[in-house]
Symmetry: C2
């Protein structure tokens, strides 16, 4: 089964497909842009984005949105993670956390799956961990170099795709999607 | 002439009315929430928010959106200023700018004015300045305590409403609205 995923981020497609292959599902990335809301909830952002594309797209479609919620920063950057990454980046998050004792944070991913004209399902996944003192590793993308998942002593960027897929927010959300579409 | 402004921020209404009284226009704040896009352009955010309310609202309506663009932070927080203010706040911006030589920044406001069912006009205003080393003053709201407009040696928060209204992004945008609706 092949489904289009509205994204220009090849990393996201690769991570999704790594999980979905167990279900015989393949996502094909396409650079279709939906409306992105300034919501604090990845589920709200993904759902609204999907709904802004789905009627005219006319085929099954997947939209994913992820947020990074840092406790000591009052959940900044939240679902606005992409903009924060492009502007202040990993170094900005580390600078904001300088001197903070509590470095706990979590990632949350929401996958919206839609069937035209307007049926939409949402699947979420999260992973808790801490923000590292320094960026480490070259894998993954976004805030991966500074996020250490609970139970590990390395960042997402220091993990193989296989390791990351065992615990990541995105893998968890896409596993739920896979189970559902092949139910 | 009385027009409804979709906002729960009394400061914004007060600043708008201070300028609009010259034109015999009065804005009445009402807590109506439109869709807020994750756009980097205040004009895009204000326009989309207005258009998401206008058809059902059925009366003339004003929506304003403002962004703060800090040069050394790659224009962070931009039009996502409200979320950044509520999470990392003024202290967060100062922490991110620690050690940066260039503290220049600008505010940009966009006012969307709509007549049902779907006629929309946009008026913008901006003010350039610098981010102070420390917060100062008690007036205004948001990032006002750390913004020093060009040609002044005090922050927006240290100015009276009259002083701020001479140079502020918001005053400039609303003056354009006032001139237009009373043309």
């Amino acid at each position: 089964m092949e489904i289009v995923m509205a994204t220009s981020n090849g990393h996201k497609v690769a991570e999704a497909n790594f999980v979905l292959k167990e279900f015989g599902v393949v996502l094909v990335g396409r650079d279709v842009k939906g409306d992105e809301l300034q919501s604090l909830e990845p589920a709200t952002v993904a759902k609204a984005s999907l709904e802004s594309i789905l009627p005219s797209f006319g085929k099954p479609l997947v939209v994913e949105d992820t947020g990074l919620f840092v406790k000591a920063l009052n959940d900044f950057p939240g679902a606005l993670a992409s903009h924060a990454f492009k502007t202040i980046g990993n170094r900005g998050i580390l600078k904001l956390l300088a001197g903070e004792g509590d470095r706990s944070a979590y990632f949350e991913a929401a996958v919206a799956y839609g069937l035209p004209p307007d049926r939409v399902w949402i699947f979420t996944g999260s992973v808790h961990g801490t923000i590292s003192e320094e960026p480490a590793g070259t894998g993954g993308f976004g805030f991966d170099p500074i996020f250490v998942p609970q139970g590990f002593d390395k960042t997402f960027s220091q993990m193989t795709l296989q390791e990351k897929s065992k615990v990541s927010h995105r893998a968890r959300a896409f596993r739920r999607l896979g189970a559902w579409v092949t139910r």
